[in-house]
Symmetry: C2
Subunit: 146 residues, 2 copies
């Protein structure tokens, strides 16, 4: 079961400038930041609200760290904007397996490491009406990641 909008992933050319835009315009603060070498991104998570399943919804601002990363290629084609959306679930493995059985392409064989120690996978946008869709299971004790 998918129980929340976990985050909206937004690709940008300059993470610091984009973080500053969201801070000065809306008052959103950085909750967490990290570099994900596997994904080739530097990212900032801005927590917007908590959710009824005990989790939270974030904006995830993404700047590519290398030209061959997926996000770098996406930015070169599309410019800045919404790159993906992510739904939270207690069990990303079971959700991915169930969705795969329905004929939707799951992009990873096994979930990989996402923001704040989460486990994530992606669904092919062409099978999701044009929306690159991520499934996320948060790390067990999210508060230790602050």
């Amino acid at each position: 079961m998918l129980t929340r909008i976990d985050h909206i992933g937004i690709a940008c050319f300059d993470l610091d400038k984009t973080v500053e835009f969201y801070r000065s315009t809306y008052g959103f603060e950085v909750f967490h930041s990290e570099v994900n070498e596997e994904q080739g991104v530097r990212e900032a998570m801005l927590k917007i609200n908590e959710t009824s399943d005990g989790g939270a919804s974030y904006l995830q601002l993404l700047e590519p760290t290398r030209e061959d990363s997926t996000v770098a290629k996406w930015l070169a084609k599309n410019g800045e904007g919404v790159h993906h959306i992510a739904f939270g679930t207690a069990d990303v493995d079971a959700e991915a397996a169930g969705i795969k059985e329905k004929g939707v392409r799951v992009l990873y064989e096994e979930p990989r490491r996402g923001s704040m120690g989460s486990r994530i996978t992606f669904l092919h946008p062409k099978d999701c009406h044009g929306v690159l869709t991520e499934l996320v299971t948060s790390a067990p004790v999210e508060s230790s990641e602050h």
Copy 2:
């Protein structure tokens, strides 16, 4: 103050097929549907979770009702995908005024009618790092809209 991710607006060519995709793939059900003649869209709201400010987060699926609507033009250029994101606030008028003062273009002189009797405005995507951004104040008694 913006207190939640209110919704993610997703443009599609065929609302019924897209609703069915979200139902059969994820189990998301239609919470509300309507036609907004002013915006030139037929839409379905899928409620994903409730939020810590007393509101909720939705997916808003949008099909254009006429070729000259903003969403129709966007679809012709981009194909299906995420069209905009929306933040919820208790006071869209005050938020829009404050954001305008910071030099971000607000697209409406006065907020207009959005989904479920809400009041909405939009911010220019070129001033928001490529993201068409909506501000929403829900109707006072949202439960009466079910």
